[in-house]
Symmetry: C2
Subunit: 398 residues, 2 copies
C-alpha cells in the first residue's frame, strides 16, 4: 500500500537513504561542518561521520582542512564539501537552425559553451557530426574527458516518450535522426537523455529562471512556432506519447488558428500591412522585414508597428489563456528567440488575459535567453546523476 522500493529493505537501505539525504544537503549548501550536517539531517554525529567517510571514498565529497567559522571556541570541526568536480554533465540543445552545447559541473555551473549552425544541414549524419564537433569543442575548452561526463541531456523539437525515444509522426520529423541518442553514446560513451525541447525549457525556468520555487509552471516557447512545457506540482508532464504541451490544438482556437509563434506572426502581419502602399510607417525603411525590426519600430513609437504588436499580444493572450485555464499553472513563462522583445507585449497580454478568466496565471518573460533549452538539458542530466549518484562509479582521476 505504502510505496516501497522494488527490492526488500535491508539494513543497507538505511545507509543508502541517509547517504542520499546527506549528499542532497551537501550538493546545495556550501562547505559544511559535521555539526551543521547533524542539524540539517537530524542524524547522529556517529552516523554523519560514517556516511561522510563513505561519500569521500566514493568521490562525491571532499574533506577540507579542519577550521572554523569565525567564532573560535572548542575543537575545530571536520569540514566537508560537495565535490562538484566529481564529474560533469552536458546540456545539448539541437534546434532547427542551431545546436548549443553547455558543459557544467555537478552544481550546474557552466564551464564551457559551444555551438554550431545547423541551417545548412542536409542529412541526419551531418547534424550529428556538427553536434559532435560542438561537444568536442566544449570538452576541450574545459579540459574534460568523455570518461568524466556522467550524463548528457539533449533537447530536440519533437515529442519524446518517457523512455527517451523520439516519436516521429509527421513528414517533417522523418528527416530527423531518431537514433541520435545511440549515435552520441557510441561516439562518446556517456548516457544520452533525450527530451522534448519545451519540456527542458520548463525544467530550466524552474531551476534557474523565472519559475524558481514555482511548482505549477508552464513555459511557452514562442519564437517561430508555439510549443509548451508543463509542470504540475514540480513534475514534468509527458503524456502517453510524449505529446504533453503539444500546441496543435491552437488550430481550433478562435483568433489563433495555427501554431505560428510570435516572431513568425509579427513578420507575417508586417508583410501584410506593407502590401498596402498607402500605409505610412518606418518599417518601409528596413532592408528586410523581421520581428526584431517591428519590435524596434514599435519601441520608437511607430503607430503601425504598435498596432501589429497589439494584435500579436491579443493572439498570444488567447494562447496563454487556453493553457492557463486547462492546466492552471501559477506562472506562464514566455521564452524562445523573441523572449526579450516580448517584454513589450506583457502589459497587453495581461490585460487581455483578464478578460478570459478571473484567475489568470501570472505571465513573465524568460531571462535565460537562447540558453533556455540547454540550461534545462543540464538540469535534466543533473536529475539523472542525482537519481543514480550512489550507483555510479566515478572516475577517481577528477
Amino acid at each position: 500500500m505504502t510505496s516501497a522500493p522494488v527490492t526488500a529493505a535491508t539494513p543497507a537501505l538505511l545507509r543508502r537513504v541517509n547517504a542520499g539525504k546527506l549528499l542532497g544537503v551537501l550538493s546545495t549548501a556550501g562547505v559544511m561542518t559535521g555539526t551543521g550536517l547533524i542539524q540539517a539531517t537530524g542524524l547522529t554525529r556517529a552516523t554523519v561521520h560514517a556516511v561522510c567517510n563513505d561519500l569521500i571514498d566514493m568521490g562525491w565529497v571532499v574533506e577540507l582542512d579542519p577550521g572554523r567559522d569565525d567564532t573560535a571556541v572548542g575543537r575545530p570541526s571536520r569540514r566537508f564539501e560537495f565535490n562538484s568536480r566529481a564529474g560533469y554533465v552536458l546540456g545539448i540543445d539541437i534546434g532547427a537552425g542551431r545546436t548549443t552545447v553547455l558543459l557544467a559541473d555537478l552544481r550546474g555551473e557552466t564551464l564551457a559553451k559551444a555551438g554550431r549552425s545547423l541551417s545548412s544541414v542536409k542529412t541526419p549524419a551531418e547534424r550529428t557530426g556538427l553536434v559532435h564537433e560542438a561537444v568536442v569543442e566544449a570538452l576541450a575548452v574545459a579540459d574534460v574527458r568523455d570518461s568524466q561526463v556522467l550524463a548528457a541531456g539533449v533537447g530536440v523539437a519533437a515529442p519524446v516518450d518517457r523512455a527517451g525515444n523520439i516519436l516521429v509522426d509527421d513528414e517533417f520529423w522523418r528527416r530527423f535522426d531518431t537514433d541520435l541518442g545511440h549515435r552520441l553514446t557510441e561516439l562518446h560513451g556517456w548516457p544520452v537523455l533525450l527530451e522534448n525541447d519545451a519540456n527542458l525549457a520548463v525544467l530550466g525556468e524552474h531551476w534557474r529562471g523565472q519559475g524558481q520555487g514555482i511548482d505549477d509552471l508552464a513555459v511557452l516557447l514562442a519564437g517561430e512556432r508555439f510549443g509548451s512545457g508543463l509542470m504540475d506540482s514540480g513534475r514534468l508532464l509527458h503524456g502517453s506519447r510524449g505529446g504533453a504541451g503539444e500546441m496543435l490544438y491552437l488550430k481550433l482556437v478562435e483568433g489563433v488558428g495555427d501554431t505560428h509563434g510570435i516572431a513568425r506572426t509579427t513578420r507575417d502581419q508586417a508583410v501584410a500591412v506593407l502590401a498596402d502602399p498607402t500605409v505610412r510607417t518606418r518599417l518601409r525603411d528596413v532592408s528586410e522585414v523581421t520581428a526584431e525590426e517591428v519590435f524596434a519600430a514599435a519601441a520608437a513609437g511607430d503607430e503601425v508597428a504598435l498596432g501589429i504588436l497589439r494584435s500579436v499580444a491579443a493572439r498570444t493572450a488567447r494562447v496563454v489563456a487556453t493553457l492557463g485555464i486547462l492546466v492552471n499553472p501559477e506562472l506562464v513563462v514566455i521564452g524562445g528567440a523573441v523572449a526579450e522583445a516580448a517584454g513589450q507585449l506583457l502589459p497587453d497580454i495581461e490585460e487581455q488575459l483578464a478578460g478570459y478568466t478571473s484567475t489568470p496565471p501570472r505571465v513573465a518573460v524568460s531571462s535565460l535567453g537562447d540558453a533556455i533549452v540547454s540550461v534545462g538539458a543540464v538540469r535534466h542530466a543533473l536529475n539523472y546523476v542525482e537519481q543514480h549518484a550512489l550507483d555510479l562509479v566515478l572516475t577517481r582521476s577528477a
Copy 2:
C-alpha cells in the same frame, strides 16, 4: 539528492517499509501463505512472520486456520489475509442536483449506497443536512459506526486545492458551503478529503472503469457542463489553484464556444430546430424535449434527431481534440449523466477527431454510470488510508 523521508532513517524505518510492502501485497491479493509472501516480497521467512505478527497486532491482517492449496505435502502453512473490515471508507458525491454516498470496505467493495435529491436545497446548511442524512442511512444499512470510518472522500463541482480547500471564484459557488469539510468532520469525526468531482472521476475510471492500467488518462464529464479530470503517469493534475481540467477555455474554441455539456447542447439544439414549424420529426410528440428523448429518437432513426447528434458529436470531438492534443492522454473517457447514450456518438467523435490530429487519443464511454464520482471518492479515501495505514490506530472492535 535522492528523495528521502523527512526524518532521519533509523532501523525502525526498515520495518515500516517492509510492513507497507507486505500490506500492499496482502491488500491486493487474497489469502496468502508465508511462503507466498516470501516470494512476493523477496523477504526472509523470519522477517515475513515478524511483520505479519505486527500487522495482526495492529489489526490490518487476520490469520486463518493453517491449511494448504490442494497440493498437500509437508507442514501446513500459516495463512494470512488482509482484514478488509479493519475499517471502512465513504465516497460522497455532492452534485448540483443530488448527493450520492457509498460505503466501502478496505478493498473498496461497496457495502451500502444512499442518496438524496438536492434540487430543492436553498442554503448550505440544508445541503449539509441532506448529505448527513444519506451518510447516516448508508452507515445504518451496513451497521457501521462513525468510529470505524477511516476517511471519507468528497467530490464537489468546484475547484479544490491540494490542501482540500474549496476555492470559490465566481458568484455561483459562493452559494456553496466552502466549510463543508469541517462541518462533516464535526458531525462524524472522520477525516474529510475534499476533491473536485472531475478529478475523482478520473481516479474512479483509473481504478474500476475504462481506464484501468492506463496511466495517462483523461475523463470528460459531459452532462450539463463539460468538466475534466487529468492524469499523467498515474498522477492526478491539480494546477496551482485546483483548476487543472477546467474547461472555461472552450469559450475560445471554434465550434464550441461555451462549456455546455452534451445533454444541454442536445436539448438546446432540439429546441432550436423545433422552433421552425415546417420541420417534421417525432420529437414533436414528446411532452418535454430532453437529451434522452433526442437520443431515443435518433436510435429509432429520426433524421432530425440524427442530425442533432452529428452536430453534437462534432462539437464534442473538438473538445476531446483540444484536451487530447495538449495533455496527450492515451484514453479519454466520456462520463456523466449522458455517458451511456453517448455511445451512439462515439463513431462520429472518433472520425472527426482523426481530422484534428494524427495521433488521437482513444475515446471510450464510462461504464460507471452515475457512480463515477462516488467510486472515485472511495478510491481517494482509500489512497489516504493506504498512505497513513501504519500510523492509524484502528478501533479493534471490527
